[in-house]
């Protein structure tokens, strides 16, 4: 598909503020003897939209899961919004309040209704009153355009609707950064667009986003920066225009060749 290399639809680079929201310095991680993250250096600025891509097993999911410590790294430092993750539980709590996450498998709570899914964390983590939590939940359910599903259970919704609820659930905590871990990979093809549209809407509102995704169209039209990972390393990072037209590394070229020519 030659049009994938067509640059006419790639927007010019946006100016991004200098404020650093996430800083990863010298981050290393092993699963036993398998070196899954090798000396990761990454700075994410406020309002920046980053897409991380790479072959499976390259460490891209592990990288974003280290940011909110669903996975523990063994070396290096991770700082989110000025808070460095360490052994103090208080610091981890602070980071998790500031970082929202959307999973490939949605991970909605099946025993709670849609609106209760959205109300749980504001009430139990922030101590928001029930009425206020409901108002917040309804606001974000309206934003992902499914307020009418509020009283249904997740199991009654389609995959695309569930993923939009998961996005709303994260937004209810008013995060400073959103992490997306292959948010469309578990969806039927006809539902991918509604989720991507929701993400594009978030990006337009200025949300800082890190997305692990194979949606190269999304990368081209939304990302400020595309990061390519392979075997636990950041091999290359560039603006989408550069990344798709003039990849510097051989490994990047091979990867793009594989995903864009099928």
């Amino acid at each position: 598909m030659a049009s994938a290399y067509d640059t006419t639809d790639v927007p010019a680079p946006r100016p991004v503020s200098g404020e650093v929201v996430i800083r990863m310095a010298g981050v290393q991680k092993w699963y036993d003897s398998f070196h899954v993250l090798k000396d990761i250096e990454l700075e994410v600025h406020k309002g920046e939209r980053i897409v991380i891509c790479g072959p499976s097993g390259s460490g891209k999911s592990t990288l974003i899961r280290c940011i909110n410590q669903l996975e523990k790294h063994q070396k290096g430092t991770i700082t989110v919004n000025g808070v460095t993750i360490d052994a103090h539980h208080r610091h981890l709590d602070q980071v998790r309040r500031d970082v929202g996450m959307v999973f490939q498998q949605f991970n909605l709570f099946p025993h709670l209704t849609v609106v209760e899914n959205c109300m749980l964390a504001p009430m139990r983590v922030r101590g928001t009153s029930k009425q206020e939590a409901r108002d917040i939940a309804m606001k974000y359910l309206a934003r992902v355009r499914i307020p009418e599903q509020a009283d249904k259970y997740p199991g009654q919704l389609s995959g695309g609707q569930q993923q939009r609820v998961a996005i709303a659930r994260s937004l209810c905590m008013n995060p400073k950064v959103m992490l997306f871990d292959e948010p469309t990979s578990a969806l039927d093809p006809e539902m991918v667009k509604e989720v991507l549209d929701t993400m594009i809407g978030l990006a337009e509102d200025g949300m800082t986003m890190l997305c692990v995704t194979h949606e190269m169209g999304f990368a081209k039209s939304v990302a400020d920066r595309v990061i390519f990972m392979d075997r636990g390393e950041i091999v290359e990072q560039a603006t989408p225009a550069e990344f798709f037209t003039n990849p510097r590394s051989e490994r990047t070229r091979n990867f793009l060749g594989q995903i864009l020519t099928h």
């Binding site: 709590d93 998790r96 909605l108 025993h111």
Partner: protein
């Protein structure tokens, strides 16, 4: 002197049912309370806590309940405590039930998908809130049928308390049989009374299972 089995003997057996039920209830409540702690310890992130809980479970699952009752009853006397059969039976059955319930519920907690823990953690919920609002409500659904099944087991296990001299249904049966010498009739009635206690629980279990299945569909 051998007495005939009369209405009075039947009433005596029937009134012993209350002691079987009382002992079962105490052992279940005590066992559930301690069992929840054991289940949480078995699924803990801290290795020492996990190992301690595993040891506790293996100790009580690997020895006969009758020996546990003997050890509690006679052990208390050795240590200078005057434990009556009531207290000894209640304590022994509580310890035993907590080990079994702890192991049943560990499985139910671990049956909740990993993604649920991750989503709750990512939202900032700490362990107590995560357990209370996300994991345990889902684990309960899985836990109801095996728990009620175990309760049936527990009611039948209380019959062993007869041996340390606690007068519940089985002991009452022995007493009546010693007086009337009609073992088939007496123990037949005892068995029917046990069945009448356990059968409704099995029905309840099946009904709860259906209701929970509907609620989460």
């Amino acid at each position: 002197m051998i007495r005939a089995f009369s209405y009075n003997e039947f009433l005596f057996l029937l009134s012993a049912v209350q002691w079987t039920l009382a002992l079962s209830a105490i052992a279940f409540i005590g066992g559930a309370t301690v069992g929840l702690v054991i289940a949480l310890a078995r699924t803990s992130d801290i290795k020492a806590v996990r190992l301690a809980a595993t040891g506790y479970i293996q100790l009580f699952q690997g020895t006969p309940l009758l020996m546990q009752l003997f050890l509690v009853f006679f052990g208390a006397t050795v240590m200078g405590l005057d434990l009556n059969p009531w207290a000894a039976a209640a304590l022994g059955l509580t310890l035993n039930a907590s080990a079994f319930l702890g192991e049943i519920w560990r499985g139910c907690i671990q049956a909740v998908p990993r993604g649920q823990w991750e989503a709750a953690s990512a939202l900032g919920l700490r362990y107590p809130g995560l357990m209370r609002y996300v994991i345990l409500p889902q684990a309960v659904k899985v836990a109801v049928p095996p728990t009620v099944g175990f309760l049936v087991q527990l009611i039948k296990s209380t019959s062993l308390a007869a041996i340390i001299g606690f007068t519940e249904l089985t002991r009452a049966g022995q007493i009546v049989n010693n007086a009337t010498f009609q073992p088939f009739l007496v123990f037949g009635i005892v068995a029917v009374l046990y069945f009448l206690m356990c059968w409704p629980l099995s029905l309840l279990s099946a009904r709860l299972e259906r209701r929970y299945a509907l609620a989460t569909r």
